[in-house]
């Protein structure tokens, strides 16, 4: 049975005119790393909120359909039960930092304190999580003294430290430097290999293709396409619908017109592009 199961999920916020999610059906298996792409306003963040239980429990509005994670139904659970299994990192890390803690170390322990993890274990888990995301040197800094990208790493780490079974990430690398971005994709991949299920909203096609198992393309609240990364990310359907593509894809598409790309498949990653262009 699928670890995540969305059946006919339709949702409208209290103040929006039409539904933001329309009839979404989606199954994800345990340990799968799924990436969600789509233009602004496609419903990507709302889908994250739905998986994390904020839709409809916190935002209210009109909800129909059913969301199941690990066999439990969102409609029959309370938000505080739900968050024990599901962790969400917000798009804007500033919205996530508690404001109640003076140091990054304390900030990272905040979630663990709230679920009653013993003090000694808490310290070990915070230190492990900081090492994993490469922020050990920020431990004593104030969360508010950090740069945007550093704050984003702290926000991600504050979720990883909770060891959720389902990790939901809403553009977790949007403010990160390029090599840091690649490292975060690597960390998330490792988490998935250890059995954590991951749903990650992202725009960076090259790294999605390199690290994710499957891509879901959303548009106007509906699933436009889903499948293996290379298959989805090179589809003409995406370009026609205003999705971004990697420079490897767009350049090879142009080269194909001029007879300079001879493979059947377009590339998304560097290796695929090298393979197709080399003489």
């Amino acid at each position: 049975m699928a670890f995540i199961n969305l059946q006919n999920v339709t949702y409208k916020y209290p103040l929006t005119k039409g539904p933001v999610l329309q009839n979404i059906n989606l199954q994800v298996r345990e340990g799968e790393f799924v990436s969600v792409i789509g233009p602004n306003g496609a419903g990507k963040s709302t889908l994250c909120y739905a998986l994390a239980g904020f839709v409809p429990h916190f935002f209210k509005g009109e909800f129909s359909g059913e969301i199941e994670v690990d066999g439990k139904q969102s409609s029959k659970s309370t938000l505080d039960e739900w968050v024990l299994n599901v962790g969400l990192a917000f798009q804007n890390p500033f919205n996530q930092i508690s404001g109640a803690k003076y140091t990054v170390f304390e900030e990272l322990a905040f979630g663990l304190e709230n679920i009653g993890v013993p003090r000694d274990e808490m310290k070990v888990r915070v230190e492990e999580a900081m090492a994993l995301t490469g922020i050990s040197d920020l431990a004593d800094r104030s969360p508010y003294s950090l740069s945007g990208g550093q704050q984003q790493r702290v926000a991600l780490t504050s979720i990883l430290v909770m060891r959720p079974r389902l990790l939901v990430l809403d553009e977790p690398t949007s403010q990160m430097d390029p090599i840091g971005t690649r490292e975060v994709f690597g960390v998330v991949r490792r988490m998935a290999e250890q059995g954590m299920t991951v749903v990650m909203v992202e725009h960076k096609m090259e790294w999605i293709a390199e690290f994710a198992d499957r891509v879901i393309a959303l548009k106007e609240g509906q699933i436009l396409m889903e499948g293996r990364p290379n298959e989805v990310l090179t589809s003409d359907l995406l370009t026609e619908n205003g999705f971004g593509v990697s420079r490897y894809t767009s350049t090879a598409r142009e080269a194909k017109k001029r007879g300079l790309w001879r493979k059947d498949h377009l590339p998304v990653t560097l290796d695929e592009a090298v393979e197709g262009f080399k003489k």
């Binding site: 789509g38 233009p39 602004n40 306003g41 798009q91 804007n92 500033f94 800094r141 104030s142 003294s145 950090l146 740069s147 945007g148 990208g149 550093q150 790493r153 553009e171 949007s174 403010q175 990160m176 430097d177 390029p178 090599i179 840091g180 971005t181 690649r182 725009h203 090259e206 205003g242 999705f243 971004g244 593509v245 990697s246 420079r247 490897y248 767009s250 350049t251 142009e254 080269a255 001029r258 300079l260 560097l270 592009a273 090298v274 262009f277 080399k278």
Partner: protein
């Protein structure tokens, strides 16, 4: 209006030394991208241009004005600054009022204000949203409101702090168009970005910062070709530059057309 920075140093009250001796000259009308690792000092540097931060030592001179001696309000007539997070700068009840706020405070004539606001709204495609409360818009459009509110001030120097963060392909195209238009008008545009492909396609000069110092500074192609040095500040070359290297092309390529020429 040139920007002259001499041995600029800055330390935050927490003791963090963010800038460790920066020397730079940016000429009038240049399009400059600033790249570098998170925490490298990019935002700290540009906040010195409009006086939000004052040098601990050294100097920042904007067209003859030493920023240490001028208020943020005064410098606002020369330097416009679009924040990384639009929510830090928007406060009006509707988009039109928000976009008009800057030029009104600069004391322009009513005709000039109307003209500047009209142009900024058109450039950012906000005309149909004039009466909307900025906070009823999606984050994407709030970003465009933030851009418009600064463009409408008609300053010689415009700074964008990570303008493409969280924007889809269509909107990144809109932002590139805004930058191209400002260039045509002879404005100096300084942009902090982590989007290296965007950087390669829209800027002529790139400054790479690392740990509070200038690591590289020069023509886009020269700077973005130096893979090993860039890695010190956690920056990858553009995708097509990496591809060109792997294919053994002699010249560094950064854009699609250069790449096509090189392989034809």
């Amino acid at each position: 209006m040139n920007i002259n920075i001499k041995d600029l140093r800055f330390t935050y009250p927490t003791g963090l030394e963010a800038l460790k001796g920066i020397n730079l000259t940016i000429d009038s009308g240049e399009q400059v991208a600033i790249v570098g690792q998170n925490g490298a000092g990019k935002t700290t540097l540009v906040r010195h241009f409009n006086g939000l931060l004052k040098p601990a030592s050294g100097s920042v001179i904007i067209g003859g004005w030493d920023t240490a001696k001028y208020s943020v309000a005064k410098l606002a007539s020369r330097v416009g600054y679009v924040f990384q997070n639009p929510d830090e700068q928007l406060f009006s009840r509707d988009v039109l009022t928000e976009v008009s706020f800057g030029p009104r405070n600069l004391g322009y004539s009513k005709e000039k204000i109307d003209e500047l606001v009209k142009r900024a709204m058109a450039l950012t495609e906000l005309n149909d949203k004039a009466e909307t409360n900025p906070y009823d818009l999606s984050p994407t459009w709030r970003k465009m409101v933030a851009l418009a509110s600064i463009i409408a001030m008609d300053t010689s120097i415009v700074i964008f702090d990570e303008p493409t963060t969280g924007q889809d392909a269509v909107n990144v195209g809109r932002i590139a168009h805004v930058i191209a238009e400002l260039k045509k008008e002879g404005k100096t545009v300084i942009t902090i970005t982590h989007d290296i492909d965007f950087c390669a396609e829209n800027f002529e000069r790139v400054i790479a910062l690392s740990k509070g110092q200038v690591l590289l500074d020069g023509h886009t192609r020269e700077v973005l070709g130096q893979e090993e040095t860039l890695a010190q500040t956690y920056v990858d070359p553009p995708q097509l530059t990496r591809l060109g290297k792997r294919l053994g092309l002699k010249e560094t390529v950064t854009r699609q057309e250069e790449f096509m020429q090189a392989i034809t």
